[in-house]
């Protein structure tokens, strides 16, 4: 430690204005750095004169002010200071700031700073430099804020290293949407679209999210609501803990998707106490969890407080009865038909109509039956037909059963009422009303006076609501029939809903036949409801259709929706078979210019994506980090069978 600088005093020769000097006392770097021993309590940054901005001190500064020089620096106090430095430290920092702010022309320097050898600004800067370095050198830590409650332990095993890298890559590619990147998609797989599958696969295998990637996972879930359930399940308790600290991730705390803070549904006392004291979101989550485990218990829980709940809460709670709905719920729902709130009544009616054995369903059946009947009079002329006599009024009883009296703009009252009656009536009423016909035969019957569309649409809604596969099948008709001429509905959205009622295998078969007959241009919504990975016949039908479209000379982007689906949904095992399509054939004469090259590119991307998916799944199947075998994990994860793949739209 040198003291030569520190002990130097003001030079006698220094001239006023053009000072070359730096050897002014207290201004030499070493002098100030060592001069840390002064009582810092004089450094008051508050108590400022009016009109000057209140300086906001950082926490270390606060700390340094509070400290009575706890940190006695190694700098030897006896060596350090010069007279000027001592004088400077007698002046408060606020005074210095005030003089600096107003200017030395307007404010005279405090006593002890002004000297004949220096002009005022230099003296002020000397003192301020001294003060600044002294303050910085003498910083002490701030008092600690309350410590956070640590996140609960996540018992899941860590990801295998390769899978971890893959996740980082998928998350990094998240914001690089191809559309934003300027149109053409090129040959590289679209990583964004693979994230949902990756998350689902990781959750099936019950892996823990790598902590360092949690912010990116939560950001991804924030940007895409469709990712949320899987992303939040993956993020787990630590993700939820983290989300509690960042308002951007508040969505994670809403709703029951987390399920982490909820008590075990078997722990009656805990369930009861959370139900009575919890926040709304916690209670919805609790009800959903209990309902999934024991539907009757959930109903009983809801019944304990039902009459005291607010109307909008009742509506949400009622909605969570949708899962696990059974005839046992009927008495409760029937009572809810007299609820004060119209929305609650409507929802209760809708739920009851999904129970074909309910009293409401029977009442609706009676009403609907008076409107729709079989007309046998024309048997000789051209066969039997269905006649429709729409209701003439919507009486109070109908309204109590959930029929909405006021149609939306553009629809006639009577057809609006008819539609509601038919969609709420159990489908099993119709065969007997229609002379013992099967659903197929019923939808094939002609309908009088242009009511066909209205009637079939209502039946479609009923089939979906009652999850009736026979009627769905009948209303879908043969897949090879032209969409516009088929029974039921020509809306693809409605057809997709009907398809979702069919068993997985039948669904895929129907769509495969549809694609084989009509190509891909209208198949998008139908394909979206098929189970992933696509069954072999379905995959083959789609690939063949793409091949045909290429040969027909159109551009691949006309099929970009289906291509994207195929990338995500085809069985990764198909990659090798598709490899042959990635070559660029010679341009055909009638083809659109350049189409062949684009197709080859599109198929390259398809194959690349399939390979990537196969690699992704293989990585997740690798044994987790061999360094930390955790027998507890093995025991916990083993008994759970792998759930079926979720269809991914």
């Amino acid at each position: 430690m040198t003291s030569t600088q520190c002990t130097r005093t003001r030079p006698a020769t220094a001239s006023g204005a053009a000072r070359p000097g730096g050897d002014a006392a207290g201004c030499s770097p070493q002098g100030v750095a060592h001069d840390q021993h002064h009582d810092q309590r004089t450094d008051r940054h508050h108590d400022q004169p009016e009109g000057t901005p209140v300086s906001e001190r950082s926490a270390p500064e606060e700390a340094s002010r509070r400290a009575t020089d706890r940190r006695a620096p190694e700098a030897d106090a006896s060596v350090a200071s010069s007279a000027a430095a001592a004088a400077a430290s007698a002046v408060s920092w606020e005074e210095l700031v005030t003089v600096a702010l107003l200017g030395t022309d307007r404010r005279t320097l405090p006593q002890g700073l002004a000297g004949p050898a220096k002009d005022a600004p230099a003296a002020l800067l000397d003192a301020a430099a001294h003060r600044t370095v002294r303050r910085r050198a003498g910083l002490v830590p701030a008092p600690a804020a309350p410590r956070p409650t640590p996140a609960p332990h996540d018992p899941r095993p860590p990801l295998p290293p390769a899978a971890r890298r893959r996740l980082a890559q998928l998350l990094a590619g998240r914001s690089a949407s191809p559309a934003a990147a300027g149109g053409r998609r090129g040959t590289a797989p679209d990583l964004t679209e693979l994230l949902p599958q990756w998350l689902a696969a990781a959750n099936r295998r019950r892996y823990q999210a790598p902590p360092a990637l949690l912010p990116a996972v939560l950001d991804a879930a924030r940007a895409r609501t469709d990712l949320r359930p899987q992303a939040l399940a993956f993020a787990g308790v630590r993700g939820l803990w983290l989300a509690g600290l960042n308002p951007d991730w508040r969505f994670a705390l809403r709703g029951g998707s987390s399920g982490s803070a909820l008590p075990d549904p078997d722990d009656e006392a805990a369930v009861r106490s959370l139900w009575e004291e919890g926040l709304f979101a916690e209670r919805v989550g609790l009800l959903t969890t209990v309902r999934a485990k024991d539907p009757a218990a959930a109903l009983a829980l809801l019944a304990t407080t039902w009459s005291t709940e607010r109307a909008e809460d009742r509506l949400m709670f009622l909605d969570s009865l949708r899962s696990g709905l059974s005839d046992a719920d009927e008495p409760f729902l029937e009572r809810a038909l007299s609820d004060r709130s119209r929305n609650v009544r409507t929802t209760a009616a809708e739920l009851l109509s999904a129970l074909p054995g309910s009293a409401l369903a029977a009442r609706m059946a009676t009403r609907a039956a008076t409107c729709v009947s079989l007309d046998r009079s024309g048997r000789t002329a051209g066969g039997e037909r269905v006649t429709v006599e729409a209701p003439h009024e919507c009486d109070a009883d109908m309204q109590r059963d959930g029929v909405s009296p006021t149609p939306p703009a553009g629809r006639g009252e009577r057809s609006w009422w008819l539609g509601q009656l038919v969609e709420s009536a159990p489908l099993h009423t119709w065969p007997s009303r229609m002379g013992g016909r099967t659903p197929q035969e019923i939808v094939a019957l002609p309908v009088s006076d242009d009511w066909k569309e209205e009637l079939h649409a209502a039946w479609c809604r009923a089939a979906v609501r009652q999850r009736d596969a026979r009627w769905s099948r009948a209303l879908l008709g043969a897949p090879s029939a032209p969409p516009a001429a088929g029974p039921g509905t020509s809306s693809f959205a409605e057809r997709a809903k009907l398809l979702a009622v069919l068993p997985h295998g039948e669904r895929a078969e129907w769509v495969a036949s549809f694609v084989a007959a009509h190509g891909l241009s209208e198949a998008f919504q139908l394909l979206a409801v098929c189970t992933v990975p696509w069954s072999e016949p379905l995959g083959r039908a789609v690939v063949d259709a793409l091949d045909i479209a290429r040969d027909a000379g159109s551009y691949p982007w006309s099929f970009s929706g289906v291509m994207g689906l195929a990338e995500r949904c085809l069985d990764p095992g198909e990659a090798d078979r598709l490899e042959i399509l990635t070559t660029t054939p010679d341009e055909q004469e009638d083809a659109s210019p350049g189409a062949a090259g684009y197709w080859s590119e599109a198929f390259q991307r398809l194959v690349g994506t399939l390979r990537l998916r196969a690699a992704m799944l293989a990585e997740l199947s690798e044994p987790p980090d061999r360094a930390h075998p955790d027998p507890v994990q093995a025991a916990q994860t083993a008994p759970h069978p792998e759930p079926a793949a979720h269809p991914h739209p």
Partner: protein
């Protein structure tokens, strides 16, 4: 420009991680496009050799595929690609490295094809020649007399510049900081240009920063006074440099902007790569790499520079240790990397750390050698990151009621959330820069873990 480090060619078995590869990307767009090419799809005839070369053909929009080859041997990878992109490295090189990093089967082990080998051989010959150069000092040292004369001329210019700056500061304080506020930025910008003319880039940079202070929120007059005072101190110290003891005089020369060069005996150690991050600085990108010597206990800063749109050449593998020689600049913190003796190896443990009180002591001590220091590299051991009031965070000692505030500009960076996620309320080891504005976390290790989590990536 930082000297290119020379590494031995035998880098077998050291495969980079995807993060390391992406750190090479010159900008965010390249990172994205590069990631998309990091799949087997467009690649053919790809391979890698035991000597660290990676090559492949990437199908693009044209008829002929691009030929991409990367030499990963050494700390500064080199790239060659037949694509017309002006980005460096281009997306093809990044994609290829990602493939290689992920150990994709499409990248086969083997010998480089002729088109790649030609370039590799030329490059390595050049590197070997350069290594020879550094071993034997440049024979054509310029005339020492002329060099001395130039240095004197420059010092004179700086002295004039410092005097001019001193005059500006004096005028400013005569009229008052409040009066100067409206003219603010333009005034400082002009003064900064004058300092550039005076060949004092260090003064210029500090002056430019003054311009931003009045817009930095409440308390700006105090901060502006502090910075003006330190600038005044630097002016004064420059004038007195001949009377200052040598290490301090060297610091002053460095702060004013005279280039320093590394010298003295090289320090061989196992250097742990603690952190690497880039900051834009006008037309340059400055890459800072913090290293920690396991045996010497020294912390070193390795700087490299690149033009905007081009990542600085040198990328060191974060979380690995280099058995290498470092030579230090006179400020004893900045260093250049010399000979590397072995391939980078995984770390055994994070560097030993201190508590928050000792961290501030370390900063205070460092101010003795350099009172202009804004912060000092410190590893904190067993601290818990926690929010402290609205929009403020602290790193709390696990075993004492003290804490360091997180530096305000670090609050808006994604790294803070990574740190919180790694900690989850439990003590962690954090490396970062500890200064008068608070602590800037750069790297974290969960308790008991050797996994290095960078907090500086976008």
């Amino acid at each position: 420009m930082a000297a290119r480090s020379v590494f031995p060619m035998n880098q077998q078995g050291v495969r980079w991680t995807a993060e390391q590869v992406l750190a090479l990307a010159p900008d965010a767009a390249s990172r994205k496009t590069g990631s998309r090419l990091g799949t087997a799809g467009p690649w053919s005839e790809a391979g890698s050799s035991g000597s660290g070369a990676v090559w492949g053909l990437c199908r693009g929009s044209g008829r002929t595929p691009y030929r991409t080859v990367v030499d990963t041997a050494g700390g500064s990878p080199a790239y060659k690609c037949s694509c017309p992109s002006r980005k460096f490295p281009c997306k093809h090189a990044l994609g290829l490295l990602l493939l290689w990093a992920a150990d994709e089967p499409v990248v086969k082990d083997g010998e480089a094809p002729d088109w790649a080998e030609e370039w590799l051989a030329a490059r390595r010959a050049k590197a070997a020649a350069a290594a020879g150069d550094t071993a034997h000092p440049d024979p054509k040292t310029p005339d020492p007399q002329a060099a001395k004369r130039r240095a004197e001329q420059r010092a004179e210019r700086i002295t004039l510049g410092a005097a001019e700056l001193e005059q500006r500061l004096s005028d400013l304080l005569r009229g008052g900081l409040a009066a100067a506020e409206p003219s603010g930025y333009g005034l400082w910008e002009e003064t900064a240009r004058r300092m550039v003319d005076a060949q004092a880039p260090g003064l210029a940079a500090r002056v430019r920063e003054l311009g931003a202070v009045p817009a930095s929120g409440p308390g700006w007059p105090a901060r502006l006074l502090e910075e003006c005072a330190l600038l005044h101190l630097l002016d004064a110290a420059w004038g007195a440099r001949e009377r200052l003891p040598e290490p301090l005089a060297a610091t002053v020369r460095g702060r004013v902007g005279l280039t320093t060069s590394a010298g003295g005996p090289p320090v061989r150690d196992r250097w742990l790569v603690l952190s690497q991050y880039d900051t834009p600085d006008g037309k340059l990108v400055t890459r800072r790499v913090w290293l920690y010597g396991e045996e010497s206990g020294r912390t070193a800063l390795f700087l490299s520079f690149g033009a905007v749109g081009r990542a600085p050449q040198t990328s060191l593998p974060m979380g690995l240790t280099l058995d290498a020689e470092l030579t230090f600049h006179p400020n004893r913190i900045r260093a250049e990397i010399g000979h590397q003796f072995a391939a980078p190896a995984p770390i055994g443990s994070p560097p030993p750390g201190v508590d928050t009180t000792e961290a501030l002591h370390a900063y205070g001590d460092a101010l003795r050698d350099d009172p202009w220091l804004d912060s000092w590299p410190v590893t904190l051991h067993r601290v818990i990151p926690a929010p402290s009031g609205a929009a403020a965070w602290q790193l709390i000692d696990a075993d004492a009621p003290f804490a360091l505030p997180v530096e305000p500009t670090a609050l808006s960076r994604p790294g803070l959330w990574k740190l919180a996620a790694v900690s989850a309320g439990a003590p962690v080891t954090v490396f970062g820069e500890c200064g008068h504005r608070g602590f800037t976390p750069l790297t974290a290790w969960a308790d008991g873990s050797t996994e290095t989590v960078p907090l500086t990536e976008a």
